[in-house]
């Protein structure tokens, strides 16, 4: 069933969730780079979306042959539930599936039952209708109230069962989309986007490549901490995400995190280290040339989305400390406020006025040519508490600027010894490092040059694209042979 059409172009299906081609920035940029870098590959995009009515915001190059979407919350999928013996059989499998989510001793059921559900959905059954039956609800309610399960102690209510079933039903909707039947399936994120990749691999033998930028599971754990659900619901849905991650790590032919830091989660999640290969993000040095002389006024610049994950509070506090020593220093923040993020922006405004540094901090808003944001700083700052392998950092480095950044994700691997790295959420440490740089123009220049050279050697877009192009071919030739060639890149000046 598998295999490329002889002499035809290589076919790749990108599996995305909430990103390309529906959203700007982040992983979408990476996808766009990849697609544009390979005009000879025929791409399909299968996006997990919300309502299914999202418009494309990226102009798609001709090598993108098709875009389809698997909406999570569009209109309720049609179809009727099985009855009688059919329903009983379905529920028996569903109960094993649930058990695998709730109890580590039954985890081995997960994969088989997941593929059973997929087969049910792909052969004309309505998974949505089946999961919305009273029987499915009762299965869950009686199962998770059993004394040997951890959920028992949390006294799950009928409402909990309704909510958990509802969440699970939406999470499983991607199982009902026809998975790609040829070429390579390339999931560009963990989580739900992996579902069609797993079914493609299982039912059509399509090799699966999984690229993780952030760690999906880790982010889900963090998000659900504030979710409006009781413990049993959280346990079930997070159990699902954890088992899905495990099956993705187990089933993918190759996993390519964008930094070595993320490997820890992948290895903990049960991934064979042999099949992990770090592939760093890259920038086009032509688009980010040397930025030229520094601004006359000492300036700290920052570029990104104004979002809590960027921890601009720490940056502003650090700036206030720096200003106490060097009064003329300014802080320029380039980047838009995403929809729904207005409250955070207001909080920052309040902090700025509380600290009395309002005349030195400027929110510049969205900027079209982001390299100007790096050029505007004597030092480029990154204060995030969570990052994969941040574009803004390697872009600033490509522009030849010295950087101060927080020690999260792949930051240390990106910066190496060409910039200063400080612990996250510590304004004092960030201020100390920044002051050190501001007081030593010579050091700034040396670091900036070293940073640019580091990018040219290690993190060019060309390198990233070529690596993936070769991987696609290798996966098509022999999916399981790739691990032996999976060597880790060696980075100078970087101890992880």
């Amino acid at each position: 069933m598998n295999g490329p059409v002889k002499n035809g172009p290589v076919e790749v299906t990108l599996l995305t969730e909430g990103t390309y081609p529906y959203v700007h920035g982040g992983v979408s940029v990476w996808c766009d780079q990849l697609v544009r870098g390979m005009p000879d590959v025929r791409f399909h995009v299968l996006g997990i979306t919300g309502s299914g009515r999202e418009p494309h915001v990226w102009k798609l190059p001709p090598q993108v042959a098709s875009v389809s979407s698997a909406p999570l919350w569009g209109p309720t999928p049609q179809g009727s539930a099985p009855r009688g013996r059919g329903l009983r059989r379905f529920l028996a499998g569903y109960e094993r599936f649930l058990l695998a989510l709730l109890d580590v001793d039954f985890e081995q059921y997960f994969a088989d039952e997941l593929y059973e559900l997929a087969e049910f959905a792909l052969t004309g059954g309505s998974l949505t209708a089946a999961l919305r039956t009273e029987g499915a609800l009762r299965s869950l309610q009686s199962l998770w109230s059993r004394p040997f399960l951890a959920t028992h102690a949390a006294r799950p209510t009928v409402q909990d069962a309704l909510q958990a079933t509802d969440l699970l039903e939406h999470a499983l909707r991607p199982l009902a989309v026809q998975p790609p039947s040829r070429g390579v399936a390339h999931a560009v994120t963990g989580g739900l986007a992996v579902l069609p990749g797993l079914t493609a691999r299982r039912f059509h033998g399509v090799p699966l490549l999984l690229s993780e930028h952030g760690i999906y599971l880790r982010e889900r754990y963090l998000s659900y901490r504030t979710a409006p659900y009781r413990w049993p619901v959280k346990a079930l849905i997070l159990g699902f995400f954890r088992m899905l991650a495990t099956e993705g790590y187990r089933g993918a032919d190759l996993i390519t995190p964008c930094n070595r830091y993320n490997r820890r989660w992948e290895e903990r999640g049960g991934c064979d280290p042999e099949r992990i290969r770090t592939i760093y993000n890259g920038v086009d040095p032509g688009l980010f040339p040397y930025a030229g002389p520094e601004p006359e006024t000492p300036t700290l610049s920052w570029a990104g989305r104004v979002d809590p994950i960027k921890d601009l509070e720490t940056l502003i506090r650090a700036y206030a400390l720096v200003r106490a020593e060097i009064p003329e220093v300014r802080l320029r923040l380039f980047g838009g406020v995403p929809a729904g993020g207005e409250a955070y922006r207001e909080r920052l405004d309040r902090l700025v006025s509380e600290l009395g540094v309002g005349d030195g901090v400027v929110f510049e808003g969205r900027i079209d040519t982001v390299r100007h944001a790096y050029a505007a700083g004597s030092v480029v700052m990154l204060s995030s508490i969570s990052e994969g392998f941040p574009f803004s950092l390697i872009e600033a480095m490509a522009c030849g600027r010295a950087t101060v950044s927080t020690d999260v994700g792949g930051v240390r691997e990106a910066v190496g010894d060409t910039g200063l790295v400080v612990p996250p959420r510590e304004p004092e440490a960030m201020a100390r490092a920044t002051l050190g740089l501001l007081r030593q123009p010579q050091l700034r220049q040396e670091l900036g040059e070293a940073a640019r050279n580091r990018v040219l050697e290690q993190f060019t877009l060309e390198r990233t694209v070529t690596t993936f192009r070769n991987l696609y071919q290798a996966l098509l030739d022999d999916p399981r042979a790739t691990p032996s060639s999976a060597t880790e890149p060696v980075l100078a000046g970087c101890r992880v």
């Binding site: 979306t49 209109p75 951890a150």
Partner: protein, 470 residues
């Protein structure tokens, strides 16, 4: 860096919880293990897996280097496993969700009032309705009026349901368009029905037909106002005709064609308000108001049929043999307000029952209890209304009319409940034959009793399922 979608529309989870407070341990020199336990104990207690603790440790800006340096563990995972194992589980409750069904009684009473007040148009319009008796000795124009009323009633139920489907999807422009067409169709349907019924049964048709045309237009426009939540506006527009009608009924004013023109006044007021409400609804639409396919008309069909059956059953109580006794009809109509409120009450109790029951059986029991509580309350209200109105309007004693009214009331309320909870076809499937039986002359007590029993049995079986209430 990755963007994740939440599983449900409207679910917004914060990608990053706020930082944890760093514990200030007494005694200065802090034992790192103790500090970690204090700092992350809350997380570890409510966590569902050690990974959750590891994620929290990382997100709080603790790097593996810091874990090694400060806590003497290999990495965040090792520290997390230890914390998870050592901390007793705790199950923090999320913020309780207030029941969305807590509607104020006044709103429901207001609705009952605007359902019933239009009845006062009949004494006011009597000069238009004078003439020779209809077939069977009923007053002049009864059949034309009834046919027009029935058709409009049924139509409006379907229209209201269809519009709610649009509104529920945020499709205001489509809702507006549907309502505009619906009102026109209602006016046409009601007038045509009156014409046909009049031709078949009446003799002089002119003024009655005029009255019916006005009534049909009023029904359509008031449906718009009710669906779009402008009950107050409707009440204001109704005031001229209702006050005059009440005065005529009480004998304070003699009925006259001049006074009947107040009907026109109310009609114009209602139509204008409906137009304004429609425009406001259309303006709420955002620019991207297309794409999603239309809700099928079939979904609204049982609601229309149910409305028709309800109208027949309600009016049926009024048309007995050769005289018209409107007391039970008025009682039923007025009781629709409290009935809605009691439906909300039922759903509110279910809201709490779902959160209190820990097994399907326990929930089913609570559901049945809730059903009978709601039904009992409704019958109590209806009994009082029926008795009072019966004594006032017709001078009938309490007992006999209650025998007719109570079974019918039980059927009506249970059917409304089933309809609201997704069993519209069942409600229509029982009520339509019941209405047909009434037309065929079967006694109302029997019809009401049998339908109430069937509906109640079905309700007990169906509404005990939690999935019905999702």
């Amino acid at each position: 860096m990755s963007a994740t979608l939440e599983l449900l529309p409207g679910l917004r989870l914060s990608p990053l919880p706020p930082p944890l407070p760093r514990p200030a341990l007494p005694g200065g020199a802090a034992d790192p293990a103790e500090e970690a336990a204090v700092r992350f104990s809350g997380i570890a207690a409510s966590a569902v897996h050690p990974f959750e603790v590891a994620a929290a440790i990382e997100a709080d800006g603790v790097t593996d280097r810091q874990v090694q340096r400060d806590y003497g563990r290999m990495d965040a995972f090792e520290l997390a496993e230890e914390l998870y194992a050592d901390t007793p589980r705790d199950y923090p409750e999320p913020e309780p969700v207030p029941s969305p069904w807590n509607a104020p009684l006044s709103a429901s009473l207001l609705r009952g009032l605007v359902y019933a007040l239009p009845g006062l148009a009949f004494p006011l319009g009597r000069p238009l309705l004078r003439g020779p008796a209809d077939v069977g000795g009923l007053p002049h124009g009864t059949f034309a009026l009834a046919a027009s009323l029935l058709l409009c009633w049924g139509w409006n139920q379907g229209l209201a349901h269809h519009t709610h489907l649009w509104l529920g999807r945020g499709r205001y422009r489509a809702a507006e368009r549907g309502l505009r067409r619906g009102v026109a169709a209602c006016a046409g349907l009601g007038t045509a029905g009156a014409l046909i019924a009049g031709l078949l049964t009446g003799r002089e048709l002119g003024p009655v037909l005029l009255f019916c045309a006005g009534q049909s237009l009023y029904m359509g426009a008031s449906c718009v106002l009710l669906v779009l939540g402008c009950e107050r506006g409707l009440l204001c527009a109704l005031a001229p005709a209702a006050l005059a009608g009440a005065a005529v009924l009480a004998g304070l004013l003699p009925g006259s064609p001049a006074l009947s023109s107040l009907l026109l006044c109310t009609l114009v007021l209602v139509a204008r308000r409906a137009r304004r409400a429609l425009r406001a609804c259309g303006e709420r639409a955002e620019e991207d108001d297309g794409g999603e396919h239309a809700p099928g008309l079939r979904a609204s069909l049982p609601h229309g049929l149910f409305g028709l059956a309800m109208a027949l059953l309600t009016l049926g109580t009024a048309l007995r043999g050769s005289h018209v006794d409107i007391a039970p009809t008025v009682a039923l109509t007025l009781s629709m307000g409290p009935a809605e409120w009691l439906l909300y009450g039922y759903r509110s109790r279910i809201h709490h029952a779902l959160r209190a029951a820990s097994s399907s059986r326990a929930f089913a029991l609570r559901s049945v209890h809730s059903l009978f509580l709601g039904l009992g309350s409704y019958l109590g209200v209806l009994a009082v209304l029926g008795a009072v109105l019966g004594a006032f309007l017709a001078g009938i004693p309490f007992g006999p009319q209650l025998a007719d009214l109570m079974p019918l009331g039980a059927a009506v309320w249970t059917a409304l409940l089933l309809q609201a909870l997704g069993s519209a076809w069942t409600a229509a499937g029982v009520c339509v034959p019941a209405a047909a039986a009434t037309l065929a002359g079967v006694g109302e007590t029997a019809v009401g009793g049998i339908s109430a029993a069937v509906l109640l049995l079905f309700a007990c079986a169906t509404l005990g399922r939690a999935t019905v209430h999702r």
